[in-house]
Symmetry: C2
Subunit: 284 residues, 2 copies
């Protein structure tokens, strides 16, 4: 049996009882470690599970999936994913491969940013499509997600922006020379995301949003002690400090309901400005 188990958002205790029981039945346990991160170390997880983990990086999951699945028709194997297993495309690949090999699969779900984002006070019903914002480089400044934001905003819907994570990446030079030397992990901050968003609007000029558009920054969602949620204009959030990763950003759509505005107000520093913008831009 292949168990695909969501670990939830924050620390070792976010796993479900069902997930923990499944892990204890497994002979090999892989931890997917490149699409998201928990706020605790691998050792903490191993201590709770009473088992050693095998770290699975992108290369292993994408090119050695048959190693992960080895004998999983006879023994139990676990593949652990931060959040819920169905956050990232790559795991669909692994599941399809397991199906081809006729390996039985059980999925154990958990919270992920895709539903826990409701903690910011916006209704999940009022979100449009989710987008990912990749790190700009000197000569690669992709902006196709701008069209997605615009589509959502035209309908008055909120946009959840997932921010880029670079874990175990090689520099172009090291990649070219086949040297397995990896860069330090990088996690996009809310501030970086906003800078990129404003640069794109500056170029595209289709008014998908402005520096005065309401947004919500969320850091370390799901942590009982470290979670931060702040709301304000993109311009206001640009200078806020959200601390360590992970960060996410929501661009508020103007179909916002009065109950949503009431709730968000708790996360706003400048309440007068908030009221003024809500009055001006939102259909409340």
């Amino acid at each position: 049996m292949l168990f695909i188990i969501g670990l939830g958002l924050s620390d070792e205790k976010d796993i479900t009882i069902k997930g923990l029981e499944a892990i204890k039945s497994c002979e090999r346990i892989y931890l997917e470690a490149y699409t998201s991160i928990l706020m605790v170390s691998q050792e903490k997880l191993e201590e709770l599970y009473g088992k050693k983990l095998i770290l699975a990086d992108r290369e292993m999951v994408e090119s050695q999936s048959d190693d992960i699945l080895l004998n999983a028709d006879k023994i139990n194997v676990a593949f652990l994913v931060v959040g819920d297993p169905f956050g990232a495309t790559t795991h669909a690949d692994l599941i399809i491969r397991a199906k081809e090999l006729l390996i039985p699969i059980q999925t154990i779900h958990n919270a992920s940013i895709m539903n826990a984002v409701g903690a910011c006070g916006l209704q999940l019903y009022n979100f449009g499509q989710t987008i990912s914002i990749p790190f700009f480089t000197d000569n690669w400044r992709p902006d196709s997600f701008y069209d997605r934001i615009k589509e959502n905003r035209n309908l008055g819907l909120h946009t959840l922006c997932l921010l880029d994570i670079k874990v175990k990446e090689q520099s172009i030079e090291n990649l070219a020379r086949g040297r397995k030397i990896y860069e330090f992990p990088r996690y996009m901050t809310i501030n970086q995301a906003i800078m990129q968003l404003l640069e794109i609007e500056e170029n595209r000029k289709q008014n998908a949003y402005t520096s005065e558009t309401l947004a919500i920054g969320i850091a370390r969602l799901g942590s009982l002690t470290e979670q931060i949620i702040k709301a304000g204009t993109l311009n206001q959030l640009l200078s806020e400090d959200f601390g360590p990763p992970l960060h996410s950003l929501i661009i508020v759509g103007n179909r916002m309901h009065i109950l949503e505005a009431d709730y968000i107000k708790y996360f706003v520093a400048d309440k007068n400005k908030f009221d003024e913008i809500v009055k001006r831009d939102y259909k409340i």
Copy 2:
């Protein structure tokens, strides 16, 4: 402290370790029992928790929230929600009331239909706004969600349809006479939802979808043994038996990716018809 704790999707073991530890610290534990259901009895939960639960119906949550919150500034109180706490508006009300009373709040997240729906093989990124389909009555046949589906479909996005639940409802007669006699619980089936959708399309004729549009029916999502996922045209799913509640329906958008189609194929009975429709209607 007020703990708002998600129970996940299926049975008593879907709670997180963090959630279970919080419950064990609480003096009063409320179970929200009207926006969704687990597939196990209240007794099963009480056995695992080692605590008695207080059933909280809509009336209690909406009009007696101060009773729920009583002394929660001094003692620990838990409010348990099937899925994740931020699925339904009513809990935002409870949290806002707790904030007004300066009661500290901790939220413990879990899986909900809003993220676990990824199990059907469609990418969460490609979903538009989520809609709810209410039961039609003889003289109340609301169809405002039709416009939402159309907005999603115009962008090529998938639509998650949450299907109505009627728990502890009074008949109009009993309500008028103030008699606290309640109807049997009712849960909309995928078949009923499709019938209503086709009736609305018949009336509105704006081609938001047709009986030939691809859809996916999901029953008892998250159950390791009872989950059913079936894909096909709305017309094909109309005659499928999905068994006991809860049911959900997804209308597939035509921006469907080839990887999504590959995955969905595992849930299709009539693979030839599926290939034919994908070729005809989808941008693959």
